[in-house]
Structure formats: structure tokens, C-alpha cells
Symmetry: C3
Subunit: 141 residues, 3 copies
């Protein structure tokens, strides 16, 4: 096994995947609490908020993985991993906030956006730098 | 082209992607059968179960890819690929079971969970091993 | 940093992730226009079409990433990246068409399928070639 593997990116990715699975689990618990059997996805507001909180995580999860890995491989693994941890914490804030009240999802949401923006900027810098290095034989930084 | 490419992981990933696309296709067939035109996503119970069976696959697919690739790269490619094949077969059991009756999704669902757990354990061992090897100059196994 | 990094695949992936985020943003704008507050996902037909257009992108996005990267790494990075650009343009056609009328999503949809098929064929060739090279010491092409 190569010792050059991006172990921090892998650890943060695994953590984020487990967190997404845990959110799915909490939708299942909400189903039991409100007695809503699959395939139904409508019901009391609390259940619908829980369901949508998880859906929103699913909708953005692939975007997160793309910017996490590109920023980590093309720019800086440790910084990208820290951005990834911020994303996971923000997702938890979003989820627990949303369950209580729709408006309470917003602080977590803005923190999610900030983490994604941070990773996107790093990924962009990394791609430009790598392109210049590979094809123009020069560097951005 | 490097001959060190993880060809089994790639083959299993491609197969799983085609299987997910096939599930989307079957939702389309169910739309035709029950005459439910997009963007409507509600209708007779059989259609709603088919729709949700596909949605559940989408919700868990990124989690699957993360644990498949981390376990395959950081731990053992052949074992991870076998776990991936089990996941695909379990997804098919889940889908065909769910279409017939909500309760019949459960055997496939538990098999999906088992495959994901297997890959998660391998991924965790691989990450810890790689971390110890890279930063502590020692090994778990 | 290795100068062998697949910078075109990374650039196309980043672009596709930003495009998916932009689609989510347009669902948000449609929410404001039609005054539909989360977690509600039903409303006037235009909102429901916008919502489903984004959902369809989410459902297929992981499939796209799998075939993009496998075809790019195992077969040809530049061709795969061009296929990826076609996918993004097709997604935009699908989205803008769907918002106006359900039927107008179809040209973009068939273009999406064509891009995915192109990438799937390349990925399959790449995997077979890599397998023959690695284990049978021969080549397909």
C-alpha cells in the first residue's frame, strides 16, 4: 500500500458518509414516532421538515465530495479536510435546526454554503495551478 | 496507462451506476403503466413504491461509492469489490421486493445495510492502518 | 504536487458541481417567486417542474461522475472531459426546457442520455483494456 494515500480526505469522507447515513436513520425514527409508513413522505410538519432536511443533505452531498477531493488533491489536503469537517458540523446544525423550526435551518445552511465556498475557491486555485504547471510549465503561487 | 489502476473497483462502480440508471428506467416504465406524467410523483401505491425504491437507492448511492472506494484503495480491492457486488444484488432485492409490497423491501434492505457495514469496517481499518503507516511509521495489522 | 493529475476531469467535475448548485439556487428563486416555503415541495406547475428538474439532475449526478472519471482515467481524459461538457450543456437544456413545459425537457434529456452513453462506452472499453493489460498481459486496442 502506498504511503502517499490521502488519509485525511478519506477519513473526512467516511465521517461525512456515516453522518449522512445517520440522518437517514433519524428520518426512519421520525417515521416511527409519527407512524408514517413508507412509501408515504408527507405527514405532520415535524416529519416533513425531518424528511426535507435529509433530502437537502442528499442533494448537496455529491457537490461536497467533488469540491472536497479536488481541493484536497490539487491544493492542500489538511485545509480541505478542515473545510470538510466544517461542512459536517454545519450539516448537523442545519438538520437539528430544521427539525425544530423551518427558519432555524438557516444558520446551518449559511455555514454549509461557507464551507462549500471555501472548498470551491481552493479547488479552483488548485486546478488553475495544476494546469499552469502541467501545460505552461509555470505556477500560480 | 498505469497497470496499477483499480480495475475491479471501476468495474463494480460502473455496474452499480448502470443498475441505478436501470432503476430510474423502471420508474419511467411505471409512469407509462399508470399514466403518470412528470412532474407528478404521486399516484397508485405501486407507482409510489417504485418511485420511492429508486429514491432510496439515490439517497444511499454516494455513501456506497465512498465506502467502496476507500475500503478498496486503503484496505483490499478484491474484498471491497465483492462487498460492492453484494450491495448491487441487495439493491435489486430491495427494489423488486418494494414494488410488490412495502414489507417485502426489508430483506433487501438488511442485506444493503450488511454490505455497507462490511465496507465501512474495511474502510475504517484501512484508514487507521494507513494513518499509522504514514505518520507513526507502524501498522495495525 | 504531481504533474500527472487529471486536471481536465477535475475542471469539468468542478463545473458540473457548480452547475448543480446553480440549479438548486434556481429552485430557491422559484420558491420565492411562488411564495412556497420549505419544507413544502408542491405548488403551481411551474414550481413543481423546476423542483423536479433539479431532482432529476441530483438523481443522475453520481452516475455521471462515475462514468466521467472511469472513462477519463481508464480510457482518454480529453474525450471524457468533452463528453462531460456535453453532459453539462444537456443538463442546462433539460432544466430550462422543463421549466417552460414538461415536454420541452425531452431534447435535453436525450442529449443527457447520449452523453452518458458515450462516457459509458468509453469506460467499458477502458476497463476491459486495463483488465487485459493487467491480468492477461495483452490489450484490446
Amino acid at each position: 500500500m502506498s504511503s502517499d494515500l490521502p488519509v485525511f480526505l478519506a477519513a473526512v469522507s467516511l465521517l461525512s458518509a456515516l453522518h449522512l447515513a445517520f440522518q437517514a436513520r433519524r428520518v426512519g425514527w421520525s417515521r416511527m414516532k409519527h407512524k408514517i409508513m413508507p412509501p408515504t413522505v408527507t405527514g405532520p410538519p415535524e416529519f416533513e421538515r425531518t424528511f426535507r432536511a435529509h433530502q437537502n443533505s442528499v442533494e448537496m452531498y455529491s457537490i461536497f465530495l467533488v469540491v472536497l477531493w479536488i481541493s484536497g488533491i490539487f491544493c492542500n489536503e489538511v485545509l480541505a479536510s478542515l473545510g470538510g469537517l466544517l461542512y459536517i458540523v454545519s450539516r448537523e446544525m442545519y438538520f437539528t435546526g430544521y427539525i425544530r423550526e423551518s427558519k432555524k435551518r438557516l444558520p446551518g445552511f449559511f455555514s454549509v454554503l461557507f464551507a462549500l465556498l471555501f472548498l470551491t475557491v481552493m479547488a479552483t486555485i488548485g486546478i488553475i495551478n495544476s494546469f499552469m504547471n502541467k501545460y505552461l510549465n509555470t505556477r500560480l503561487l
